[in-house]
């Protein structure tokens, strides 16, 4: 799943470690979500989106899901 996490992080000059600490996960998980290896759960997706002050669909691209 494509996400805007990397782009949003860069905008806010935020490292993966800092974001991970804020949303209660690990740096490796943030990396995996950013590269599309891992799909975040609804709770984690909400926490990430909430941290950036955006809605989930503004951070995560659900176009792949709609194809099914």
């Amino acid at each position: 799943m494509k996400t805007r996490i990397k782009e949003l992080r860069k905008e806010r000059k935020l490292s993966q470690e800092e974001l991970a600490l804020e949303v209660g996960t690990t740096r490796q998980t943030i990396t995996s979500i950013e590269v599309g290896k891992y799909t975040a759960s609804l709770v984690l997706a909400y926490k990430i989106a909430h941290y950036f002050g955006l809605a989930i669909e503004e951070v995560f691209d659900f176009s792949d899901v709609n194809e099914f």
Binding site: A20, L21, G24, T25, T26, Q28, T29, S32, K37, Y38, A40, S41, V43, L44
Partner: protein
Amino acid sequence: MEKFRTKVKRRIVISSGMALVALVLGFYSIYSLITLDSSAATHSDSFVAGFQFGLIISIGVLAVIDIIKLSLTINDETKLRVLYNKEHDERLITIRNKAGAPMIIITSVLMIIAAIIAGYFNIIVFYTLVIAVAAQLSVSAMVKLYCMKTM
């Protein structure tokens, strides 16, 4: 986070207890090895005793490392939060589950205990159980590594 801090404190107490038990058992094992009647003892007896001693020492060392690591973590708010996140990270929990945790650990510990007891009666059973534990832990570690790379 205060709840987690209490949990970590409890873990330090448990590790201290384990280190203490390992120390007592270690001394007892040394005493047993020294007083072992070499003429009456078979090779398998001394091998099982040596394995048991090695296991006790390993548990003791791991417990001490755990105490040091947790003591350093408990006084640092960031480190405590990182540890909390690591233990509650959904991706890591999924990987651990895929690798068979916690059942692999539970069965391994039970099999090692069974191996030590069986070793005093039948060395073949001892070797079989130890090899089985090594095999299941290796498979679990490989699955974990694979999942870490792909997830």
